[in-house]
Symmetry: C2
Subunit: 353 residues, 2 copies
Amino acid sequence: MSDDKPGQFTRDEITSQADAWAQLIPIVTEKGDKIQQLFEGIDEVIFTGCGSGLNASLSGAPILQTQTGLSCRAVPAAEIYLFPKSALVPNRPTLAILLSRSGETTEVVHALDYLNDQGISVLAITCSESSPLALRSDLALVLSPVTERAVATTRSVTGMILTTQLIAAIVSDDEAYMNELRRLPMVCEPHMDAFHDLGKSIGQNKDLTKYAFVGSGPFFGQAHESQLKIKEMVLLPVDAYPTLDFRHGPQSNVDPHMLVTVFISDSAFEEESKFIHDMKSLGGVTWAICDRTDDQIRENADYILEVNSGLGELVRGVLYMPAVQYMAYYRSLSRGLNPDEPRNLSYWVDTSS
Amino acid sequence: MSDDKPGQFTRDEITSQADAWAQLIPIVTEKGDKIQQLFEGIDEVIFTGCGSGLNASLSGAPILQTQTGLSCRAVPAAEIYLFPKSALVPNRPTLAILLSRSGETTEVVHALDYLNDQGISVLAITCSESSPLALRSDLALVLSPVTERAVATTRSVTGMILTTQLIAAIVSDDEAYMNELRRLPMVCEPHMDAFHDLGKSIGQNKDLTKYAFVGSGPFFGQAHESQLKIKEMVLLPVDAYPTLDFRHGPQSNVDPHMLVTVFISDSAFEEESKFIHDMKSLGGVTWAICDRTDDQIRENADYILEVNSGLGELVRGVLYMPAVQYMAYYRSLSRGLNPDEPRNLSYWVDTSS
């Protein structure tokens, strides 16, 4: 698939993220009025997608709910039409936000058709303007700057998460939050080499043969997406868990061959710092991804990504992804795989035939 | 920990489930009036817990929402007090259902305190009547018949799931549904030997070195709980995924050493049957757990648990757990581990000191 060396598409798409985000922001903000109109009278928001689209939903739902006070939840796209009674709340004015890079994924298109039949408004987030999702939604945000050639998503998923954040800023009419979001490309760009170098260093550690990513609140979606990158590109065992729930069973598997990566929030900072200490005590290799450290983190984290952006926990999530993506990319190469061509996978899933 | 041979507690607790459920049902139903009173004026239900308590929440929320039309969601207990803005919906009369075997887990007790401070009513589901959870909730359902000595939950988690189902029957005042639930112990008992034999057969297959459990709608909680049993007792790689989302990345890891277990619903029967076909085509070993099969399932499933109960998809979930629990138990023994004493784990998690 790649023209050049293995993984060239993936690598270019990771590296270009800051620039791609900068191009994406005005595409969303210039539709601010239309977005606000869609939310008028809405009492319930359903985020849905598959794979990375679902992971972006898992990030977007807690962020939008926290910013707006609207009830928001993320559900797998198939549940919308196969289990509508548990996916959709009856008698509540609902807006559905559908996220799909291709806009053609079978479950997303079925969900779209179901929602249209029910008269539920659909806001589409996709990279393809000619897709069924873009064409048959009430409003489509077409994220052309983050479109991709690699199978595994990198900049498209951070672009989708950023889009949900921009929507949250627009709907809550929160200028301070919007200004923080606008800073993301500028904050990211100067760090990109460091993200690369750290990701490469961890990705080339062949002693690590299993992975866990944990995050709380707005970071669980990031943890789940990180897990997916390892599954797709690296083909090694990997888990995603809500941070503190990892203690309730999964920590039984922690040993010196497991990298436990912790996305550190503001709201649960103390608990997450202690969590890193505990995982280190169990013999795990630990990676703290955070905006700032404390003594406990510095003492117990084998790897640290400290961004020092000053950005809030509802803003900075996407900054944490490039280093993880580089890590997966280099771990894939170190196993002799081609990151651009995951096993058993295609650009999008079509099971309609 | 065991008096006798390794895993004796776990095995006895698995085997006794039908009888334990029969004893549990009247404990819940005799509090029917009090349960109905708690739901008066409620517009939003939050299920929460840790580990198996969270998995029972993931089962209970879609079932209660489907039965009653009330908005129900499951969140990790820590999120209640660390991320209340994304866990709780403001300005909606809310009932919290807290599930904890011990009733003493640090996050559950913190969540309880937070909810009490907020004036949110708490319905407790626990095995310990003297626990903080039982003592400080508005109503406690104390499930003494399913209490356990083993660290890993088996009958307590099916008891908790059954309790959420009984609550759904009471709140929806659905006599037909209640009657199906009452049949569960009688339906289960005659199958218990078959559940054991199949679980043992799969658990003794040492060619299987990684596992995936998938379920949709009311079965996702079961899939997640099954995953936890492998993590705790077996210490081998294992995933839980919403069924159709497994195609969006995780299927890259399917090979002849992976057992893909599919919990089969009614609402998504055709899609799940095709899913088994697809996983078999990718070289995986497949286990269909269902009430009835079709030709496609019979052709593509390496293992089949077909219960033929005639019970609906909102009823029969707990019937599927004993075979999975036996499988984890025997796989644990085949690896020379003691199922009663998972590595790095204790009976409950206390991080309060």
